[in-house]
Symmetry: C2
Amino acid sequence: MAQNQSSAPDTSRRSERSRRAIYDAALALVAEVGYPKTTIEGIATRAGVGKQTIYRWWSSKADVLLEAFLDLGNQAAEAAGHVPYTIPDTGDLAADLKSVLRATVDELGNPAFEAPSRALAAEGVVNEELGRRFVAQLLGPQLQLYVDRLRTAQETGEVRPDIDPRIALELFVSPLAQRWLQYTGPITYEYTDTLVDYALHGLAPR
Amino acid sequence: MAQNQSSAPDTSRRSERSRRAIYDAALALVAEVGYPKTTIEGIATRAGVGKQTIYRWWSSKADVLLEAFLDLGNQAAEAAGHVPYTIPDTGDLAADLKSVLRATVDELGNPAFEAPSRALAAEGVVNEELGRRFVAQLLGPQLQLYVDRLRTAQETGEVRPDIDPRIALELFVSPLAQRWLQYTGPITYEYTDTLVDYALHGLAPR
């Protein structure tokens, strides 16, 4: 028993080290060679683990990568002092949306995030199955937080009751996404602040 | 002289036939094997022309493809009975934007357009130089038409004078682009109509 009690934390530390090495290897590899050429074997070699270690935890390279991205998002949020995947509710919708979008601007400019994210996003454009998994597992839950925040704003009267929050969020989220994906324009805090103001107040005179 | 007069149209018809065969081959090939594996040689073989014929007119595969896309857009617009690359100005901004976005919905669902467009867009996400050429030569001129239409709407008082039209257009153009690129939601006329209404009138109560 004493033997088991002292070895359990060691095993868990070893597992955690392997898991992190596998995430890092998967993200680095997809950034370097793209999704089609990334293999479980390549990830294992780079992480210094056996293929079987990977197959014990995940069933495909898509699974490894999607989890590595979830972990990356959590790490980035913690490093920035945010709770991952939340939108503040200070009672001022415009201020809350601007603050989250500014944090997204920072995240998009983070080199650890950018290359692997672009590789996965690019593959999702031509690989519908991966694209839809990416939405279901990563992007969708993030968008849902905006839906929830907009619903609260409908309750407090900051957003019209007849608005569909799932479409409304796209007025400020999608422009930033397109500028990042397609290089259609510069990405700054001033830009995302402007998107929020235009979306809330509209382009037509009041 | 009589000889020359009769042979000139033949040469021109032959050139036009070769040019069209090259466009078709380039679009089909990029859709099938992706941008990195598309080569001038592969395009020439598939089009049934010599490599030199392609190099006489274009200096790179990116040039061929970008021109093939411009041509595809013109053909699609003509087939649909539209003048290519215009936005109507009936004096009703909402109606004009809805009509153009509905035409874009049709274009995005066109199989001749979809596969090659996805291949080029995906490459643009990870290949900044190609992404920026794509914007400069294809996407940018299309977005400029929205800038122009919004400026006219500012003159007639349908859009507030302090709005930046280059950012404003993204409130309805980018959501559609993101749904198409990332499979984040269904693409319908009802959806694009809603985007225009939300963008013009805003999410906040008036």
